[in-house]
């Protein structure tokens, strides 16, 4: 019994080590978000102040590392199917008096507070960094101030 568990432990360590010894994926047949080509909006090219561009340049590649699926923090899923409905006009779970995205009012949109690091609750996003540069946040601000259209 004991020997079996020692072997199991050894095998677990060795297999974890072998798997972890690899490098990153080659990316063959994938877009910059690691999804099969043609599955979503093309994230290549410069980002613009439109929802689809923000989705493919920010939400999908960066935010969905955590904010996706059944365990998304704060219940906020930012995948391409759910993000708009969960952001625009929806009260923040951390500060319910603020909308996550308040159309026409970037200054009072909680997403901007979280991205710029002056949120009243919790950590700046993306959690642990690297944080978005000013130009990228500026485009998200512009999208919100223009009415946060889909």
């Amino acid at each position: 019994m004991r020997r079996a568990f020692v072997w199991a432990l050894g095998a677990l360590c060795v297999s974890a080590g072998l798997v972890a010894g690899c490098g990153g994926g080659s990316g063959a047949g994938l877009d910059a978000n690691g999804r099969p080509l043609g599955e979503g909006d093309d994230p290549s090219g410069p980002m613009t102040a439109s929802f689809s561009s923000i989705q493919s340049h920010v939400f999908t590649p960066i935010c969905t590392a955590c904010h996706a699926g059944g365990a998304a923090p704060q219940g906020l899923r930012l995948d391409a199917t759910n993000s708009y409905a969960m952001l625009v006009g929806v009260s923040s779970a951390e500060v319910p008096s603020l909308k996550r995205v308040a159309p026409g009012d970037a200054n009072n949109s909680y997403i901007i507070h979280k991205l710029e690091g002056h949120q009243s609750v919790g950590a700046r996003m993306p959690f642990g960094g690297p944080y978005l540069d000013a130009q990228t946040i500026g485009l998200i601000r512009q999208w919100i101030d223009n009415g946060a259209q889909k």
Binding site: L9, G17, G24, G25, A71, A72, P73, T81, A123
Partner: protein, 361 residues
């Protein structure tokens, strides 16, 4: 004058803060259970009397200042125990094709308290994050137990038990499992602690079930303790209007000479994705070399397959971290992380170097 005030503020913060990081390798190295050193049966957070003695005598390179020797966090005949945690860090990130960025500041300041209303039977625990930003409750629960924690129940808000409770909340296994020391949940935990076993069963809301998303989560974990190390298994099932999710984890730890090893494999199947169910897995292998008392060198290798149905999309993360604990109340950490991912995504191939100061009291 301003510098003196800053120094005084830092010193005061350190004096008011207590180290309460979850570092499972310390338990592996010492052959102790999490509950041996922490008030929380599943580890992390406020330390108990043994934990305070352990950090002073077995972790730090030097004895603490005379004034602080013997500090064990206990007040009012052990009816009240207090502590805290302060972390500040500076991180430099390099992403190909972009300017290098450096960010720094307080990562967190937490205060802990545990009140034993009826000693060994009934207690209440609080973990409050007071910085940065507005004060935010992390854990707050009532604990009912038999003496020696043979059996216990926790009700309230707490971190779920799933795999190694790492200090590094951004480890792939913590990110994928959705269980870390930044994501508390509300529910009821039943647990059993014996010489060989540590077992937990939790029924909770599910961290992702908020707002219009409803459901619940069931989490179970068992750890088998042996003189040569320990092996654990964990499972979590989320029922959610956003899509059901199953997570399974296997983890183990042992020592070879002066090296303490941790390994974990997590597998997740999640129906909450646009294309349907996505299956993912992540691994962790960590080696901690005790160079000499107070000096630990940590080498970590991680792997993440974000979608098993998609080829060539895996990510890796390698870390080398040096931890120096000059005295029981301060720890300095310096490290380098190398990320690897698909070449189309520069951020997934970033490099990070960092220095951290932890207040340990």
């Amino acid at each position: 004058m301003k510098a003196a005030r800053l120094l005084m503020g830092l010193a005061l913060t350190l004096l008011l803060s207590a180290a309460a990081h979850a570092e499972p390798y310390l338990a592996i190295r010492a052959g102790l259970k999490c509950v041996a050193c922490h008030v929380n049966p599943t580890g992390g957070g406020l330390r108990n009397m043994v934990g305070n003695a352990f950090v002073q005598g077995s972790i730090a390179a030097n004895a603490p200042p005379e004034l602080l020797q013997g500090w064990n966090g206990s007040l009012l005949d052990d009816h009240l125990r207090i502590g805290g945690d302060f972390r500040t860090a500076t991180t430099r990130t390099s992403v190909s094709g972009r300017p290098t960025s450096t960010i720094g500041g307080t990562e967190q300041t937490r205060l802990y308290a545990d009140v034993q209303v009826i000693k060994d039977y009934l207690g209440a625990y609080l973990d409050q994050q007071v910085a940065p930003g507005k004060s935010e409750r992390q854990e707050a629960y009532v604990r009912l137990s038999t003496p020696g924690l043979g059996w216990y129940a926790k009700a309230g808000q707490f971190y779920l038990p799933f795999g190694w409770r790492l200090q590094d909340n951004l480890a792939f296994v913590r990110q994928l499992s959705g269980v870390s020391m930044t994501v508390p949940d509300k529910g009821l935990e039943l647990g059993h602690e014996s010489d060989e076993w540590s077992i937990q069963l939790v029924r909770s809301n599910g961290p992702g079930n908020k707002g219009t998303t409803t459901g619940h989560q069931t989490t179970a974990q068992a750890i088998w303790m042996q003189p040569w190390g320990r092996v654990g298994a964990a499972a979590a099932q989320v029922k959610s209007t956003a899509g059901n999710r199953q997570a399974y984890g296997l983890f183990a730890g042992t020592t070879t000479g002066t090296v303490a090893w941790l390994a974990e494999i997590d597998m997740v199947s999640d129906a909450g994705y646009p294309e349907g169910t996505r299956r993912q897995y992540a691994t962790l292998l960590e080696a901690n070399w005790l160079m000499r008392q107070g000096h630990n060198l940590k080498l970590t290798s991680e792997y993440l397959d974000p979608d098993r149905n998609v080829a060539h999309d895996n990510k890796v993360r390698y870390s080398l971290v040096y931890e120096y604990t000059p005295v029981a109340f301060i720890q300095l950490r310096a490290g380098y992380r190398h990320f690897g991912g698909i070449p189309q995504n520069a951020i997934d191939n970033r490099r990070q170097s960092f220095v951290e100061l932890h207040g340990l009291f």
